[in-house]
Symmetry: C2
Subunit: 474 residues, 2 copies
Amino acid sequence: MLNRKFAAGMALVVGLCAAASLAAAQTPDVEEKFITAKEEQTAKRLIEKGLKDDTAWTLLESLTTEIGPRLAGSEAEARARDWGVQTLKRLGFKNVRIETFELAYWNRISERAEIVSPFPQKLVITALGHSPSTPDGGVVGEVVRFETLDALETSGADLSGKIIFVDEAMTRTQDGSGYGAAVQKRSRAAIVAAEKGAIAALIRSVGTDSHRNPHTGGSVRGGAALAPAPIAALSNPDADQLARALRLAKGPVRVRLDIQTEFKKSAISGNVIGEIPGKSDELIVVGGHLDSWDLGTGAIDDGAGVAITVAAAKLVGDLKGKPARTIRVVMWGAEETGLWGARAYAKAHKEELARHVLAAESDFGAARIWKFQTRFGDGALAKAKIFQRLLHPLGVGAGNNQAFGGPDVSPLRAAGVPVVDLYQDGSDYFDLHHTPDDTLDKVNPDAVQQNVAAWAATIYLASQMDGGFRDEAD
Amino acid sequence: MLNRKFAAGMALVVGLCAAASLAAAQTPDVEEKFITAKEEQTAKRLIEKGLKDDTAWTLLESLTTEIGPRLAGSEAEARARDWGVQTLKRLGFKNVRIETFELAYWNRISERAEIVSPFPQKLVITALGHSPSTPDGGVVGEVVRFETLDALETSGADLSGKIIFVDEAMTRTQDGSGYGAAVQKRSRAAIVAAEKGAIAALIRSVGTDSHRNPHTGGSVRGGAALAPAPIAALSNPDADQLARALRLAKGPVRVRLDIQTEFKKSAISGNVIGEIPGKSDELIVVGGHLDSWDLGTGAIDDGAGVAITVAAAKLVGDLKGKPARTIRVVMWGAEETGLWGARAYAKAHKEELARHVLAAESDFGAARIWKFQTRFGDGALAKAKIFQRLLHPLGVGAGNNQAFGGPDVSPLRAAGVPVVDLYQDGSDYFDLHHTPDDTLDKVNPDAVQQNVAAWAATIYLASQMDGGFRDEAD
């Protein structure tokens, strides 16, 4: 027999639900007005397709195998551009072209280091980008260790003829925030070393791994009053070893450092561009950078970004009918040695920046996306919730409105173009980034598919959503 | 108020316990007759001390930092012998000396590989021990891949002018048993390649890691009818890359391989020996090998073995009074390039092998010991249980009676000397073994202390136990 109290309670609940449904029908959630129910279904279908799509993996395999390392301004990067053009055409993109630009070229020729005394042995190093050469045969000097860059900067010690060693370690974090602090020594140590009379600089690799694979990356980019000192990064185990040698030695530890590098004032790079024409000439710009450092094959930095955004845009392009806005995919060139492609793109497209509705780069590896952030005008923040709601089933949480957008869209962001971050898990990123270990075997195909799903939905929603993201009134 | 039933039950239990105690006192466990209760207490105290002892860590840090890589027959190995003599004397060992011997010397000078076409890029390799040089400037040839060594051996293909590539992968196991199968290709590929007319051989590294650090190790050791082909190992990611290139290329994949190596018919190495004199001239021989491959600093292979056994023997030597038997610590030389030290020791000590009561080497890394095995005469098997019982609190299980003893005691084992294995967890060993990554940072100090504790107890028990381990009657 039905309990009377229970029956009465149920009636009340049913009544409340009905009232709530009625209220919803009468005042639909504020976000609903920006996309149609059909568009929402399409976004969900794109997510399903993305989770099963192999295109990104195939592209990444092809780029990292058939081209391999793609140093900015090199012949390999030129081959990568040809690969990019062929790929975009084959996948059905329109207006496929290369927008070339000039850059200053740097390349490593050879690099060698050893403890000369008191404990003779080789050290594993890599020259940092833009490092000048040592004299032929290298330099030999006593090593002076600094716990941090700050300690070097504030040191009153006489460093004439010495080799400085900045031993600051990097912190592992999911969002990669340890990098910002640790990378300062890569940018500054060679300049400070030169200012203080040192003959060369060594730094502990800016990275979180524990392998004999040093992390390269740009150091000082010219413009300093003084020529920087030759600079190299020790792998983390070699930095440990040098620090131990300094602790155990009863006298000075002397190191030989021999770095030979090459500069050219001018070389050619380019951005590879393809489009899915929309009903309007408003632009959604997405992509990754095509160049990589030379030590690895640029799988996570940034072959993955190229492959993911191209595959995601293709899924949108495969839908029936044109998207509302034009979707432009950019494979930026020469990111690693100074954002040359980013600056060239912003310059070449200066006149159409107002038509850039949204821009975003995938350039933080190939792990799962865990957070979606925006940099929208305050009036457009309600639209962020639509992305967040639809990406949530992929395990993506909502971030703040301080999105970075990616390095190659930073000139666009600076010019007021709204950007988003599809933030990947960076816990392991700095184990691999800029090292010989940035290779395809480190990439998880399932995570790549999750990325493609999230990017496909994002690109589609951005192309369809009423108004832009600069402000409600856009 | 006391429950009557409970009180009666308790009385019964107390009675049973008393009866059991009485039975134990009347018929002590069969093992007890080989050591005294006091000796058992001493063994337990040694375990406690070992778990707190820093000597092994300090030695390992010193050896791997102050000497670093110690290639067999090199000047660095000679410095390591001096380090060994100083160390043993400082720690109070007696009869400290170097027993020198001759060996055939091999060394790498340079090594370089690249895909020439159709996907030009560098490959990370290392020349394998005993590899001959390629002609100056290297050889270029089409790569022919074989899934396994067997497939190469049984292939009827014409390999003239080709570079063969044996792509067999190694299985990760706790006991390292994947190595035995995988290492066959390292020993055989250069010979089979030469027999079939190939100009060079590449193998996938014999190792379980996924870093751009190739694994070196001995290949063919001379005596073959034909000169072996030059041979190098690709790192695992580079083997992946070459296999992918072969799959994606529409035609032949051509590789350049340039290996320059050095042979000397005769060089000098030596075993470093120290002793804790016992009441008898019967010998317990323990140690590790002092040489290492040249790529890493020989922390797990086998600086750890040297450090652990020296530290453990010292703990026994620090006890009041002489041990019953003499404890001899050996730092074997030139293990890696052909067990030169092992053979020299067996030859030099041929006349006293009958006095070798037990021998054991620590040469499987620095991880925790998980299994204790013996190779005792059937009549001495009851004694194995004493070791097993006392090591059990350290997390050490009982193994079988098929112990290997370690590579440098294998000539002793072959001559009938009983051996034991203090089997370390090898799950990660082949990530590091013979690679640049064999460095101190990979060693867990707590695990080293567990090793020292187990070895100290083992050495002490072996020195004190009534009779030997060849048979009950010994």
